[in-house]
């Protein structure tokens, strides 16, 4: 029971981390129709900027300034790269972000080297929060989860209760009309892109200390973020939250399940036959925990492509 509880909490926190990164991506897609392949790179840049700034202005200072720097990068990307190729269509914009993700990853390797860098949680925060089942639960994980939840609430309130939020939502829904009403829609686009990038940067700054900060971070998280965004529904913030929690919990709980298809067949009496077949039959679910999200994504795309909470196709 304890192990289940710990796994559940870990899954929730991992899911919240995924949400932090995918929130920006889903907003950007909802607004511009562009699936930003460089989004996971913003996550990586957030971690590296925080690592650079940590010695100068301390951990909390780095946590505040690093997302701002990443937002700046995001704004530059939107203004000078995406706006240029906007007229060639969504596929083109997608490919430009694709190329940019390569450039960012290689530039990080150029300046920081191929090995992981020493970006760590400050000693003051590296304490256990409480004990459950004989193991301790680290306080930093709770901090990560807390920051993610606070972010969600802030953005949700921003979008639904403020004037800026209304303008952004109308620009997403009917950009031409919003422009006709006198709002500076290109500025809105740039702002949303910047904010989305900043969110990913914050996620990187927070998570890079807990996990490792290395040039392959973007690749490691990148695909999972796409799965989350697709499962949740492209453009829906609540969907991203739901999907990231779902995927975080499933990945975490699957690790403790040591059963396989053969065990299922054993229930029907055909266990020995299934085991002798081998291959797919004897694959344990715990070994497949990283594969399950893709199967889920495929299922959603076929059955309900709008995602769990997106618009109906």
């Amino acid at each position: 029971m304890d192990q289940f509880l710990v796994s559940l909490m870990n899954g929730l926190v991992y899911g919240l981390l995924l949400f932090m990164v995918s929130a920006g991506l889903t907003l950007i897609f909802g607004m511009m129709g562009v699936l930003n392949f460089a989004h996971a790179s913003f996550y990586m840049l957030g971690a590296y900027f925080a690592y650079m700034l940590q010695d100068a202005i301390g951990f909390w200072g780095a946590l505040v300034v690093s997302p701002l720097l990443v937002a700046l990068v995001g704004v530059v990307v939107e203004r000078f790269f995406l706006r240029r190729v906007h007229r060639y269509g969504h596929a083109h914009e997608l490919l430009v972000t694709f190329g940019l993700s390569f450039i960012i990853a290689e530039s990080v390797k150029l300046f920081f080297g191929n090995y992981p860098v020493d970006y760590r949680i400050p000693a003051a925060l590296d304490i256990p929060a409480f004990s459950v089942g004989g193991a301790q639960y680290p306080a930093y994980r709770l901090l990560m989860g807390g920051i993610a939840v606070a972010m969600f609430v802030l953005i949700y309130l921003l979008l639904t209760r403020t004037r800026v939020g209304i303008v952004v939502r109308s620009a997403i829904y009917k950009p031409r009309m919003a422009e006709a009403l006198g709002h500076n829609v290109p500025l809105v686009f740039m702002g949303v892109f910047g904010v989305g990038a900043a969110l990913a940067g914050l996620a990187g700054a927070v998570a890079g200390a807990f996990y490792t900060t290395n040039p392959n971070m973007a690749l490691e998280l990148g695909v999972m973020v796409f799965v989350v965004v697709v499962v949740g529904g492209l453009g829906s913030l609540e969907g991203a939250m739901l999907a990231s929690l779902l995927i975080g919990v499933i990945t975490s709980l699957a690790v403790s399940v040591d059963r396989s298809l053969a065990d299922l067949f054993a229930l029907a009496g055909a266990g020995d036959w299934a085991r002798s077949v081998g291959g797919l039959m004897t694959l344990k679910i715990s070994s497949l925990s990283a594969t399950i999200p893709f199967a889920l994504m495929l299922l959603i795309l076929l059955v309900r492509p709008g995602g769990l909470m997106g618009e109906k196709d």
Binding site: Y88, L95, F111, G113, L283, T291
Partner: protein, 429 residues
């Protein structure tokens, strides 16, 4: 039409003569370029002609590869078919997986289609390491080419001709496909699938068929690679291979039939030649891709066409300086960029940082067989100057082009002699 035919014939003749012109090492690179070109052309059937951007095409390449390697190992190592016919196995399995995947994927369009293809590819990529019987674990499945039809297929030259034969055959078939009614319908899929549906065509079935055919030829390409390397490894399902074929196709230009093949050949050669020279070659590849996407959306293969159209509009004499300026700008910017990147790489490398002693001057770095001191301004002046010259040339080229277009607009607005006559007469009358 005649010039196109002559060009193609000349190209084929050159390809046939390559083994006599190149060293064995470069010949092997040529084999890889042919395989990449075939894969890109097969991919373009789906992407450029059918308008369906697929992000997971490596899955079909990989399935073809593994099918072929198992066929090579079948019958106690003698091979299921004679060696030259083995890529057929790759084609069959590529077609099979392509039909199944395509049936699911083409139910949606646009970004959702791309995501489905990505999900299928990632699923295969995740499962492959677990299915050792099929995919052979991380050492892969290895095999050996068997002699057939009087050849022993031991030397690179024979492998080259085998690959060339298959590549030419498949590209020819793909080209003939574009000439068939179904090929024309494929273009329709890209332009306006709604209208096709209203005209009564089964768009889903058509999409599936196009996907399956594209996957079939990708399987052939995978089979050819296996026959050249004599082994198949599950890293072939890596997203980087799907990424590479997309990059190659767009750099070459998806609107032309041979564009992706050209792009793939160039990028494969670029990777082969440059990867041994510098560690930053992936960075250069990324920069090249982004620059092409932003400034040359028709791709590199579209460049001759673009120049020809400019010459038609403005005349040879006007366009030549423009081309010269652009080439100069590209060379200068390229040289400056490469110099800067290489300099930065050396200065930021771990070994160099360890060699810096606090308080002393920073030691020199070696570039182009010369020593450059990071402390001296000349070291940074060289790339900055090159970049500045390149930027200036680019600006001049842009101004010239704008001037040409402005002159053309004025000419168009200005009345012709006959019209001027008529206006004067009306005025006088």
């Amino acid at each position: 039409m005649k010039t196109a035919f002559l060009c193609v014939a000349a190209g084929v003749a050159a390809l046939l003569a390559l083994p006599f012109l190149l060293s064995q090492g470069l010949l092997n690179a040529a084999v890889q370029m042919l395989i990449a070109a075939l894969f890109a052309t097969a991919y373009n059937l789906l992407c450029g002609q059918g308008g369906m951007l697929s992000f997971g095409h490596a899955a079909y390449f990989g399935v073809g590869a593994f099918a072929t390697v198992h066929a090579m190992n079948a019958v106690g190592g003698a091979g299921l078919l004679p060696t030259p016919l083995l890529p057929v196995v790759g084609a069959v399995f590529g077609l099979l997986l392509g039909s199944i995947a395509g049936w699911f994927a083409t139910q949606r369009t646009g970004t959702y289609f791309a995501m489905i293809t990505l999900a299928i590819a990632e699923l295969v990529h995740s499962l492959a390491p677990h299915l050792k019987g099929l995919f052979g674990g991380e050492a892969g499945v290895s095999s050996m080419r068997m002699p057939a039809w009087g050849f022993d297929f031991g030397s690179t030259t024979q492998v080259y001709y085998l690959t060339l034969g298959w590549a030419l055959l498949c590209v020819a078939l793909l080209y003939l496909y574009t000439r068939t009614p179904m090929g024309r319908l494929t273009f329709g899929l890209r332009e306006n699938s709604h209208r096709l549906r209203f005209l009564g065509y089964n768009v889903h079935g058509l999409g599936t068929a196009v996907f399956a055919i594209s996957a079939m030829f990708s399987g052939v390409a995978g089979g050819l690679q296996v026959m050249s390397n004599e082994s198949a490894n599950y890293v072939v399902f890596d997203p980087s291979l799907s990424a590479a074929v997309i990059l190659n196709s767009y750099i070459g230009g998806v609107k032309m039939f041979l564009g992706p093949a050209f792009g793939a050949a160039i990028m494969t050669f670029f990777g082969y030649a440059v990867s041994d020279l510098t560690q930053s070659w992936l960075l250069y590849q990324g920069i090249l891709f982004v620059l092409v996407m932003m400034f040359m959306p028709t791709g590199l293969a579209g460049l001759p066409g673009m120049v020809r159209r400019l010459v038609q509009r403005f005349g040879f004499a006007q366009v030549m300086p423009l081309v010269a300026l652009s080439c100069g700008a590209a060379l200068s910017l390229g040289a400056g960029g490469v110099f800067l990147v290489e300099l930065l790489r050396r200065v930021f490398s771990q070994d160099y940082r360890a060699a810096i002693v606090a308080g002393n001057d920073w030691p020199a770095v070696t570039l182009l067989s010369r020593d450059w001191l990071p402390g001296s301004p000349i070291t940074w002046l060289v790339p900055v100057a090159l970049l500045a010259v390149g930027a200036a040339l680019a600006w001049l080229a842009r101004r010239r082009r704008a001037a040409l277009e402005a002159a053309e607009a004025v000419d168009a607005a200005a009345p012709t002699a006959l019209e001027a006559d008529a206006i004067v007469k009306e005025g006088l009358a």
